[in-house]
Symmetry: C2
Subunit: 300 residues, 2 copies
């Protein structure tokens, strides 16, 4: 079975005084492995890849692989310049990554041809399987289904990380069918946007590329296993139980600041673990997070 | 008089096979100095700063200062992480920059407080005067006038680079008055978005932070000097003469690809001088550019 199925957990890369806190990162990787996630994606958006130097990224990738036991480790390689991406790809290969995750990050906007050529160049330079990372909220690049199809035909493309699905179950199923119709059979489709995970898995997504899975693997596994075992209603019920958490994601400008605050609150990361200029949540927001952690038993 | 007035020319940083073409860059700096621009801003968006490594940026900044004769050189220092910005600031100081240009570039979105703290930290670490670079098209951060005001109170802030003005002259004047009312008297306001330059200067902007000024200084100087000498109608007439160029900027997704194609067409930069994945314009688009260059006598 493809490693690009089930729950892929995206850990934070916690910083302490602008230096990667390696002990906290390793402890996080070991927790995920013990919890039994299906794969770990280090250096995703949740892992602050875009903020780290090539050397920091190579080191974090190595720590992830060295401490993940038999859990496959996928490594985010995105960068603004193609040659920088290729450096990250080489480093991911060198440390023994099982796959790579590539987002077309932008400063100047990119055309569809620019993005296609980026993926063509990368797949030409590596034998590692590649996840196409569609994250318009951070990259400001809008993939079309047609571009998914063009890129997915490249040798080495293994999966597409999509940014959520429609909330209506029929519309969600139709959307996944549309992506499958445009892409080869071996391509898996993984949902992201944690609030959409149950809906996405129930609609036929093969994987969940999960922010909370990287810090709170237990509830993420409950949703994933329920959907995989055909207990779609249980997956939805667990997702609905977590609605206050999804509410904080929406209210506080995305998942990263909230998950970092949870990790700090639970002692899994040092205080102010995000790279500046990201200050993280303020005191009042943090007390709201702590309340939700307690009410939802996320500290168990 | 403040160096943050008049025409600030933003040169390209041409690459050849993914390496900075230092000879082409130096030739460009010498052309600008000879033409008599008021300042040179190296490593602006037009100078591809976001794509270059800290070492490449330090080298380009040094070349600019070393070859600009008495023309003040401002250096772009923006980066995703505050500590990376501080490295670039230190390097700009070391090479003798006269000022720095700082945009709050984003991967995760930034709050107003994140951006304020970024500018506070930078101004605390340097005596170089700082231009606040508001470029929502690339940073996806939306400044408010109130945030201009908070940041402009910081010691060391010298100028604000605004992203255009309303096309109606009365509305443009009102907008500049609004910014002046919110900021201390020593802060200069510079317009960007070349199509808005004549309107912005006529509405009272002190400076034009200019893309074409970095590659085609003569027409940019004609607009600037006309506006400075109170010949507003002449500034507008020259800007209107260049309308086919502004049209290409709008049609081809911004100024950078067009100006790079012009520089390549005129032999001022090697072919494909932008950092990949930016492929630049295609053959058909380039022939349109060549036609406009010829029709507007931009090759003189």
């Amino acid at each position: 079975m493809s490693i690009f199925t089930g729950l892929s957990a995206f850990p934070l890369t916690p910083l302490h005084d602008d230096v990667v806190d390696e002990r906290a990162f390793i402890r996080g990787i070991e927790r995920l492995t013990l919890a039994g996630v299906d794969s770990i994606t280090a250096l995703g958006s949740t892992g602050s890849y875009a903020y780290l130097s090539p050397d920091e990224r190579a080191r974090v990738a190595r720590l992830a692989v060295d401490h993940a036991d038999k859990t496959p480790v996928i490594v985010g390689v995105g960068a603004l310049r193609t040659s920088q991406v290729l450096t990250n790809v080489q480093n991911a290969e060198d440390v023994g990554a099982a796959g790579i995750l590539l987002a077309p990050i932008t400063y100047q906007s990119l055309t569809a041809d620019d993005v296609f050529e980026l993926f063509r160049t990368v797949t030409e330079h590596t034998k590692l399987p590649v996840i196409v990372y569609d994250n318009p909220g951070t990259t400001h690049f809008a993939f079309t289904t047609e571009l998914y199809g063009r890129i997915a035909e490249l040798p080495g493309i293994a999966s597409i990380k999509i940014p959520g699905v429609p909330t209506d179950p029929d519309a969600a199923r139709a959307r996944i069918r549309e992506i499958r119709a445009a892409t080869p059979d071996h391509i898996t489709v993984g949902v992201s946007g944690d609030a959409f995970a149950a809906a996405g898995l129930n609609a036929g997504c093969d994987a969940w590329y999960s922010v909370i899975g990287g810090t709170l693997p237990e509830p993420a596994l409950r949703i994933t296993r329920a959907a995989q075992e055909g207990r779609g209603a249980d997956a939805v019920a667990e997702s609905e139980r977590l609605a206050p958490l999804w509410g904080l994601f929406a209210e506080f400008g995305g998942s990263l600041r909230v998950v970092a605050a949870i990790a700090e609150h639970l002692g899994l990361a040092p205080a102010s673990c995000l790279p500046l200029p990201l200050q993280g949540l303020n005191a009042e927001q943090r007390s709201r997070v702590a309340e939700v952690v307690r009410d939802l038993d996320l500290d168990e």
